[in-house]
């Protein structure tokens, strides 16, 4: 069932021009920032490219995820599929698999940049591979937050705004640490995305950061499934 739902989502994404537009825009912008850094800033490495790709993902995530459940609510297809015996967890798993696939396509757009680095310099491939793994982990976390936001509303724009709010809040939450001291300060620093992602995109394996992103991702997927199940009792989405 997950396979059927996954291919349905892939078909829907690529049947509309929106899918191609999103992917090409991401590739274009990621390519522009890499070229700009290489030519004008002389930052001939992938770390700055990964940093820019993270920032781009932050803005592209809600655009990609907002229609995941919102559109199913409005089409009435979620209700239909659940009536035909589709399990809520299968639904969430298929959506997440679809988003993972889109993330790989988005990130794959940066591979020519690595090719250019290999041709014109001698980059250390270890940190680059590590950086890609970090970027994938960060992207999956972003997408799981987007998926959770999508399940909260039947309106795509509302879902997108919720996702942006959560993502930007978690990105900049360490800014609030100037107002507090001690354990609260440490807590805010530890949950900040911007504070945790740096080592990951440098290709340094940081156990606590990896565990944090993985936990957020799993927690969001769990909440998404729970929210879908919760609809059986309350009948409608809450926003």
């Amino acid at each position: 069932m997950i396979k059927t739902l996954f291919f349905k989502d892939i078909n829907l994404f690529f049947q509309s021009p929106m899918g191609f537009l999103i992917i090409s825009s991401y590739w274009l912008l990621a390519g522009f920032f890499f070229s700009f850094n290489t030519v004008f800033v002389s930052a001939v490495d992938m770390v700055s490219a990964f940093h820019n790709m993270c920032i781009l993902l932050l803005f592209f995530t809600p655009i990609i995820t907002m229609r995941c459940f919102s559109e199913e609510y409005r089409n009435g297809t979620l209700e239909l599929f659940l009536a035909y015996g589709v399990n809520e967890c299968d639904f969430v798993a298929a959506k997440f698999l679809f988003l993972t696939c889109i993330l790989f396509i988005l990130i794959a757009g940066s591979l020519p940049a690595v090719g250019i680095l290999i041709i014109f310099s001698e980059p250390d491939l270890g940190p680059i591979i590590g950086g890609y793994l970090g970027l994938i982990l960060l992207g999956l976390t972003f997408f799981s937050i987007g998926l959770l936001s999508s399940v909260l509303s039947a309106f795509q724009i509302v879902s997108a705004v919720i996702a942006w709010f959560i993502l930007l809040f978690l990105w900049f939450v360490d800014y609030f640490s100037v107002f507090v001291k001690g354990a609260s300060k440490e807590f805010l620093m530890s949950i900040s995305f911007s504070n945790n992602y740096i080592d990951l995109i440098r290709g340094v394996f940081d156990l606590s950061s990896s565990f944090y992103f993985l936990s957020v991702c799993i927690f969001c997927l769990f909440l998404t499934s729970k929210f879908l199940m919760h609809r059986k009792y309350f009948g409608r989405v809450s926003v």
Binding site: N75, T77, E79, L80, A83, Y84, G85, Y233, G235
Partner: protein
């Protein structure tokens, strides 16, 4: 004695403090069409969703064709909500193929089934057209086709004839009547004419309560008076 395909017993449903259904009971057996009428917003769709299992009752029990937790035979259920549940960018045939997979209809008879509903619902000419480009009535036909895919034992139709022109409506009603020979059909409608001409039994849902309508030897005028009396009598 054959058990009903759908058995709703003493079901109550609240949305926050608002009681939508109070101690509602009804059943749908094989070879019969059961109608549900009622004013707008009274809870007909809620009733449908409860019958489907996509909404849980706060009180009471709902049984579908002796279905147990481990025996979910989704192809034995057909459902068409008020607005046809379609993906606008999908074409008719791939959409039916997708529903066939969702309903877990075996591949061996899936294609045959798709061809059957395409012929039955007169979709052959538009099988390669995108769903988003179809008229409301045609979308309705596609919605009904997916509901009847896999020859389901129980079919739930939420206002299935809205948006159809008189000829299409007549054709679809004929299909529903013919399908009722092998299945139980539970439909909600606003049309008294549909209740009189199609249904074997009918219920009125009003102010969270359900009333059985006497439709035997009843014409449209008599049934309308009966419904108005029930609504006014219980409403005041």
């Amino acid at each position: 004695m054959t058990l009903p395909l759908l058995d709703i017993s003493n079901v109550s449903k609240f949305f926050q403090k608002n009681q939508v259904l109070h101690q509602v009971s009804l059943s749908v057996s094989k070879n019969e069409i059961v109608g549900l009428v009622g004013p707008n917003g009274v809870g007909k769709t809620t009733m449908m969703r409860l019958a489907l299992g996509t909404l849980k009752p706060d009180e009471g029990v709902i049984k579908r064709y002796q279905q147990t937790k481990n025996q979910k035979n989704s192809s034995r259920l057909g459902y068409m909500p008020e607005l046809s549940p379609l993906f606008e960018t999908y074409k008719v045939e791939p959409y039916l193929r997708l529903i066939s997979k969702i309903k877990k209809i075996p591949d061996s008879c899936g294609s045959e089934e798709i061809e059957r509903v395409i012929t039955q619902f007169d979709l052959a000419e538009i099988r390669a057209r995108k769903l988003g480009y179809l008229s409301k009535g045609t979308k309705q036909r596609v919605g009904l086709a997916q509901a009847f895919l896999g020859a389901p034992g129980l079919v739930l139709l939420d206002e299935p004839f809205s948006g159809l022109d008189p000829i299409q409506s007549k054709e679809i009603k004929d299909i529903v009547v013919s399908a009722s020979k092998k299945a139980g059909i539970f439909l909600s409608t606003h049309s008294i004419h549909d209740v009189v001409t199609l249904c074997d039994r009918a219920y009125l849902l009003n102010q969270s309560k359900i009333f059985k309508l006497d439709i035997a030897n009843c014409n449209e005028d008599k049934l309308t008076s009966q419904i108005i009396d029930l609504i006014k009598g219980k409403g005041e």
